[in-house]
Symmetry: D4
C-alpha cells in the first residue's frame, strides 16, 4: 500500500518525474499519482488532500511550474509533510522555486531543487524510513551504492 502521494499540476510535467520514479523502483516502493491543479481543480485538490492523512499516507510530493501554488495549497489542507518540487517552465525555474519555498509562517513546504524529483522522492523515503526499519536499511544501502558508484568513477578516471 503506497504511503507517498504525488500530485502534479499538469500532465506535461510527467517527464520531470522520471528520475523520481526510478528511485522509487530501486526501493520497491509505490506512490499514488494524481494530476490536479491548484487553479483549475481546486475542489478536487482540497478533497483529495484532506483525505490523505486518514488514508495512512506519510508524505505528499507536489510539483508545479511558474507561479507554483500547488504545493502551498496542498500544505494548507493537510498536516502531513508536503514536499514541494519546483518545475522549470519559465525563468529557469526561479519563479517556481520562490513560489514554493517562500511560504508564509505556519504552513511549511519542504522544498527540493528545481526539477529534482529524485530528491523529492528520497526526502519522502527518509521520512518513511523513520517508521520502517526495512526502508531505513535500504536507504543506508542506497547511500553506500551512491558512494561506491562515485568511487568507481574516480578509480576509472585515475586509471585514465
Amino acid at each position: 500500500m503506497p504511503k507517498i502521494a504525488v500530485i502534479l499540476g499538469s500532465d506535461s510535467d510527467l517527464p520531470v518525474l522520471e528520475k523520481g520514479t526510478k528511485v522509487l523502483d530501486t526501493f520497491s516502493l509505490e506512490y499514488e499519482l494524481r494530476i490536479l491543479s491548484a487553479h483549475r481543480t481546486p475542489a478536487a485538490v482540497t478533497e483529495y488532500v484532506s483525505e490523505l492523512e486518514g488514508r495512512g499516507f506519510a508524505a505528499v510530493i507536489a510539483g508545479a511550474g511558474k507561479a507554483a501554488h500547488l504545493p502551498g495549497v496542498v500544505a494548507a489542507h493537510t498536516v502531513l509533510p508536503v514536499i514541494g518540487l519546483p518545475i522549470r517552465a519559465s525563468l529557469d525555474g526561479l519563479d517556481a522555486l520562490l513560489s514554493i519555498v517562500q511560504m508564509p509562517g505556519g504552513i511549511p513546504v519542504a522544498t527540493v531543487g528545481i526539477n529534482a524529483s529524485d530528491n523529492a522522492v528520497l526526502l519522502a523515503i527518509a521520512i518513511l524510513a523513520l517508521q520502517d526499519e526495512d526502508i531505513r536499511q535500504k536507504l543506508h544501502d542506497f547511500r553506500k551504492d551512491m558512494t561506491e558508484t562515485v568511487l568507481e568513477k574516480d578509480r576509472k578516471v585515475r586509471e585514465g
Copy 2:
C-alpha cells in the same frame, strides 16, 4: 454598495493599502475589506470568493507577500477580474511578484507593481468605469488632476 472587494493575506499588510484607500476616497468609492489567508483560512477564502459574483462585485483585489498564492487562489474561485498586489516582505518583493504574475494558462491575475495599492485600486476603478458613466468621468478628472499636478511642479521647478 461596494463593487470592489479587497482581500489581504495578513493584517500586517494593511499599511501597504493606504495609498489605495486614498484613491478610493478621491472617487468616493467604498470597498469591502477582508483579511483571509490562502494557507491559513483556505475554506473561508473559497466561501467568500465564490459568493462575490452573485453579490454583484465587479473586481477583487488580492494582496500578499513572499510566496503570494492568495491572488491565484482567489482567481481559481471566481470569474471576476482578480487584481494581484505583490507586497514587499522579502527579496525586495520579487518573490511575491513572480508568485502572482506567472499564473498558469487559464486563470489570469491582473498584476500591478510591488506595493502599488494605488494602481490596484485604479485598475479596479477602470473596470467599474466601463459600466458607470459617473466613475468614468471621475477617472478622466483624476487623470487631468494628475497631469495638472505634474505641470504645476514643472512650473515651480522652472521658476526655480
Copy 3:
C-alpha cells in the same frame, strides 16, 4: 463588433499571440489587431489609443518585449483597462515583465505572465463578462471545461 483591441510592438511578436487567438475563437469573439510601436510610431499609438474609448472598446491588450514601454504608453492615453503582455525577447522576459508591471502610481497596467497571451485574452474576457451575460456564461463553461480536462488527464494517469 470587437470590444478588445490588441496592439503588438512588432509583427515578430505575432506567434506569441497564438494561444490568445485560440481562446478568442473558443469564445467566438473578435479583436482588433494593430502593429504599433511606442518608439517607432508614437503618434500612431497616441491617435489610435485615444479613440478606443469613444469607439466602444472595453479593454486593450498591449504586448512588447525588452524595455517594453508600449503597454505603459497605451495606458497613458486611455482610461480603459490596459492589459500588459510581457514578451520574451531577452533576459528570459524579465526585462519586459519589469518594464510593464512596475508602472508609477496613477497609471496602472494589468500585467499577465511572460508570453501568456491566453491569460491576457482571458482577463479581457473577464472584464467583458461583467457587462455581457452570454460571455459570462461562456467563461463559466470555459472554466468547467478546463476542470474537466484536468480531471480527465487525472483519470488517465490513475488508470495507468
Copy 4:
C-alpha cells in the same frame, strides 16, 4: 527527550531561531541546539551528525547564511530528514537559499523560506507527528488556532 536537533553555523544566527523556538514552546517540545560550522568544525559536524540516528532523533534542522553548506554537509552524514534553513546575511538571502535547495541528486535537503525558522520547526513537527498521535493532535490544534487568529483579525477589520 528531544527528537529534533538544530545546528546553526554561527551563534550570530541565534536571533533568527526565535520564531522557531516559540513554536516549539507552543508544542511543549525540546530540541538539542548546537553551534557547529561546516567549514570551521567539519570533524565535529561529522561526528555529531553521524550519531543522531542512533540516538533516536527524527529530524535535523540546519541553518546557515551566505554560501550555506551546513545543511548539505549534515545531509551527507545522516539518512534522517534534514531541514535546511537559509539565513539572510547577504544578497537578501538568495545565496543561502540557492546554496541549500539546489542539492545534487541523491542527498536531499528539505528547504524552507529565508529566515523561516518557524516553518523549519513546523516541518520537523509534521514529521514527528507521523509517529506521535499527541503531536499530531497538537498540530491540528495549532492549525485551527492559526485559522481562528486570522478569522478574528478579519472580524476586527470588518467591524472597522
Copy 5:
C-alpha cells in the same frame, strides 16, 4: 544658453540630480530642467522634446525610476542623443535600468549607472565637447583633477 535639457519623471527624483548639478557647476554650464512624466503628461513630453532640436540643444538627459519609460519616450520624439538615468525607487533600481537600457532596435538610449547623475551630465558634456574647444579643455582638466585627487588620497594613505 543651455545646450543640455534634463527631464525628470517626478520632482521626488530631484535629490538624485545633485551630483550632476555639481558637475555642471564645475564646468560653468547650465541646463534646462523640466519635470515631465511619460505617463501623466505625455502630450507635454512630446511637445517639449519635439522642439529641442530646433532650439539648439545638443543632448537630453531623462531620469526615471521603476518602469522607467521616460528616456525611451523622449528618444522616440527626437534624434538628439538621449541619456537615460535609471533612478533607484524599487528592486535596487534594476527595474529602472532594464526599462531604460533594453530599448528596441532603432531608438537608442545612452544609459548610465543607477542614480549616476554625475555620469549622465559628464556624458552630455563629452558630447558638447566635440563642438566646443573650451568645454573639451575643461573636460581634460576635469579628468586631470580627478586623477590628482585620487593620487592625493593615495599619498595620504601611503603616509598613513
Copy 6:
C-alpha cells in the same frame, strides 16, 4: 574619413556587430574596426584609444562580454563619448551589462542594450548628426522609414 571607432574584445564577437554594420551602410558611413582586449592587449588599447581624439574621431563603440571591462578601460583613456555594447556570452548578458553600465562617477560609458549593435551605431550617428547636417537629415529619414515600415506591417496585419 571614419569618425566612428569600433573596438571589440574578441573576434568571436564579430557576428554581434552585423546589425550595426547594416545601419552604417544605410547611412553610407564607415567605421574603423579594431580587435583589442582590455586584458590581453592593455597597452595596445591605451595607445590606440589615446590617439582617437587627435585623429578626429567623434565616438568610440566598445563591445565585450562577461566581465566586460573594455568600454570602461576605453573611457578611461579618452574624453570622447564612449558607447558600451554588452555582448551576451554568459548569464544572458547580465554580467556584461552590469560590468559596463555601473561605471564609477567621473568616467561615463553610454550603454546600449545587450547585443544591440544597431543601437550602438545609431547612438554614434546621433552624436555625429550634431555636427553634420547631412547625417542629421539622414537620421530623420531613417526614423521616418522605420515609422513607415511599422505602419506598412500594421496595414498588412489589418488587411489580414
Copy 7:
C-alpha cells in the same frame, strides 16, 4: 610530479575541464584528477584533501555545479589555496557561483568564472610560478602569445 590537484564533483563535469587541460598541456604540467563528491563521498574527500599538503601539492582546483559545496568542503580540510570552479548545471551557473564564492569568513575559496576551467588552471599556475622560475617564464610567454594572437586577429580584421 604534479603540484596541482583537481577534484570534480561528478564525472559528468569532465567536458568542462577541457579548456583547463589544454592550458596545462601548453605548460607541460600535470595534475592529479579525482572524482569525489562532497555529499556522496564526504569521507573520501576529507581523507584525500587532508593529505595534499603533506604530499607537496601547491593548489587544489575543485569544480561543482548547483549547490556547489565541494570547493568549500575542500577548503575546510586544507590550508592550501583552493580554487573554486563553478559549473553551469542550472540557473545559468549562478547557483554554483554563489555557493562557491560567498564563503564565510575564515575559509576562503579563490573563485573563477562560470565554467572557466582555463582560468582555474592559470590561477594555479600563477601560484606555482611564485616558486618556480621556469613556470614563471612560461607564464610570461603565455601572456605574450595571447597578446600576439589578439594583435594578429586585429591585423586580419584591419586588413579586411
Copy 8:
C-alpha cells in the same frame, strides 16, 4: 618586507578593509596599501602593478565596487596571483561580483565573497604559506583557533 599589495579603487572603500587588516595583524604581516583607480588613474595602476613582480610581491588584492574593473585591470599587468574583492556599493554587490569573477579566458582573478576582505587576506596568506614555513604554521594555528572558538560558543549554547 611586505609581500602582499592591496589596491582599493577609492578611499571610501577603506572601512571594508578592516576585517582583512585584523587578520594581517593576527599573522604579524604587513601589506602595501594603495588607492588607485582603474578609470581615474590608469597609468598609475599600470606603472605600480607592472613593478610588483620585480619588487618581490607574492599576491595582489584589488577591491572595487559597482562595475569593478580594478582587479581585472591589475591582473592584465602582472602574472602574480590577483585576488579580487567585490565591494558592496550598489545592487547588493552583485554588479561588483560579476564584474570581477567573470573574467575572460587567459587572465584569471581569484575572487572572494562580497566585502570579504578577511578572506581576501587569508587567500593571500595561503599563497605566502607555500613558501614560508612560519606562516604556514600560523595558518594552521589560525584554523585551530577558529575551530576552538566555534566549539567554545557551542559549549556555551549547550550549557544554556
